[in-house]
């Protein structure tokens, strides 16, 4: 995917990684999958947040992989790690215990209140498309203190109401979420190829920054409801040369997760 709006110094994926990395704080415990979230965490670790602890769904903490993991349970994550626990334990003792500061999620759809769908397109009983299902996504959405969502920004992926709520955002607003008995938390930031979005007091999505060369109208055109825009809308700061160098030369030199620029 070439970067949107004619920018050619970096790709949209690189912009997304950088925007996510900058939002991670030093010392935070992050529940990660492979792919973009992995790169975002590692980028933050190399720069402003060396004390980030990455916790993998497979039960691995403090991994020191010699290669980019091919799957969430890659053996390179285990060798040289600080600790390994069972799958039940990683969900119960780490995630449900409230030890996870940030969880990363992707999805096929996200809606106005941050609900995510990774289960079916169309009706559940007769799906048009059957996807993988929750995996740990709903658990992370319920239990991480802040959830970062990384997704391509397309109108079919940003409907007003998702076809199926796999992972709750703020159903019924922030109050509604609390009434369900969920701990404080929920989606914090949605990062797309067009911009960065947060959530307001009512739990509704708000555009807070657009990537360089993208207009709020571009974002609205790719969003399935009248999107709120923050009064102080910003332009996402571009990736720095150092960020791009780290991503390209050190974190994913073989382009395993990232499509290379032509």
């Amino acid at each position: 995917m070439a970067a949107t709006a004619g920018v050619t110094r970096y790709t949209a994926q690189e912009m997304m990684i950088v925007a996510a990395a900058r939002r991670l704080r030093d010392g935070e415990r992050v529940f990660v999958g492979i792919g973009l979230p992995n790169l975002a965490c590692n980028l933050a670790k190399r720069l402003h947040a060396p004390g980030i602890q990455m916790i993998y769904e497979a039960g691995v903490v403090g991994a020191r992989p010699l290669r980019l993991p091919l799957s969430i349970g890659d053996p390179t994550l285990v060798t040289g790690a600080q600790s390994v626990c069972s799958m039940f334990d990683v969900f119960a003792f780490y995630l449900q215990r409230g030890l996870v500061d940030v969880g990363f999620l992707g999805a096929a759809q996200v809606d106005r209140f941050g609900n995510l769908n990774s289960t079916v397109i169309g009706p559940y009983d007769r799906p048009k498309v059957r996807m993988g299902g929750s995996g740990g996504a709903c658990d992370i959405a319920c239990l991480a203190r802040r959830v970062f969502v990384l997704m391509p920004h397309q109108i079919r992926r940003f409907p007003e109401r998702v076809d199926f709520v796999t992972s709750p955002g703020y159903p019924g607003g922030r109050e509604g979420r609390r009434a369900l008995g969920l701990p404080d938390g929920g989606p914090d930031t949605v990062i797309t190829n067009l911009g960065v979005l947060g959530f307001d007091e009512g739990g509704e999505m708000v555009l807070t920054s657009v990537h360089p060369g993208v207009s709020p109208e571009d974002v609205q055109a790719n969003t399935g409801w009248p999107l709120k825009v923050a009064p102080a809308l910003e332009v996402t700061p571009e990736p720095t040369d150092e960020e791009l160098r780290l991503i390209r030369e050190e974190l994913d030199p073989r382009g395993l997760y990232l499509r290379r620029m032509e």
Partner: protein, 303 residues
Amino acid sequence: MSSSKLMSMADAVRSFVRDGDVVYLAGFTHLIPFAAGHEIIRQGRRELTLCRATPDLVYDQMIAAGCARKVVFSWAGNPGVGLLRAFRREVEAGRLEVEEYTHFGMVARLTAAAMGLPFFPLRTNQGSDLPAVNPNLRTVSCPYTGQPLSAVPALPVDVAVVHVQRADPTGNAQVWGIIGEQREAAFSARRVIVSAEEIVDPEVIRADPNRTLIPDFMVHAVVHEPWAAHPSYVQGYYDRDNDFYLAWDDVSRDPAQTRAWLDEWVYGVTGRNEYVSKLGGERLESLRPEPLESPPVNYGIYR
């Protein structure tokens, strides 16, 4: 004291896997018991309820072979690659029943059964549409705080298969690397088949009792089956055969091709030995990692 439970995979499946069983082939990305899955296909088991957090290729193959009535799962994909095409085809055609949970819910169901509890309380699922499509997801009120919690029912399994690095002939099994839901699966089950890369002397087990994940009294059959987890991996023994995972994405696109693959690699071989010979030494050797041994710990002799 206990006597050896060593037998062939064919005998283990013949003795302990029955039509209509609730089956759990354990292993989160690691130690997936493909050899057992293939033997179940060869012996033509039908109407199975296939349970696994991550069905992975092994259930895609069993579904394609017609073993499954229903799949109970939490994430159905080809890890790191994409979709499970046979699974998806059958679900979209309405020919395969599904019952789905979150990862946490799925392993909590096993854990409840493994602990002799009828249910497990969890702080997940609320706000999701999963409870709307799965009546097995209920709520329970905390008797102290009154807060609503989600509940999942125990998942009592008829037969679990667990692949491990090493076991002794009576079934004491040791596992390292990602330990997934291996232990919970074994304890949730009425019958347990353990397959192992190596069968070791009981003294090897006894020299590090904290490493034992499953004690022998849970185990009904012990099968010595090297490479049983291929194309998945075994920590310290071999790597995931990623080419296979990628190739399956193509093979499984088309039912005829899928059938041809099963004919060649499952029905066309008598067991894992022949499968391994057919794969060839060169391919397998390329999957071997350089060795890296753990340091010892001192247990001490107390007399």
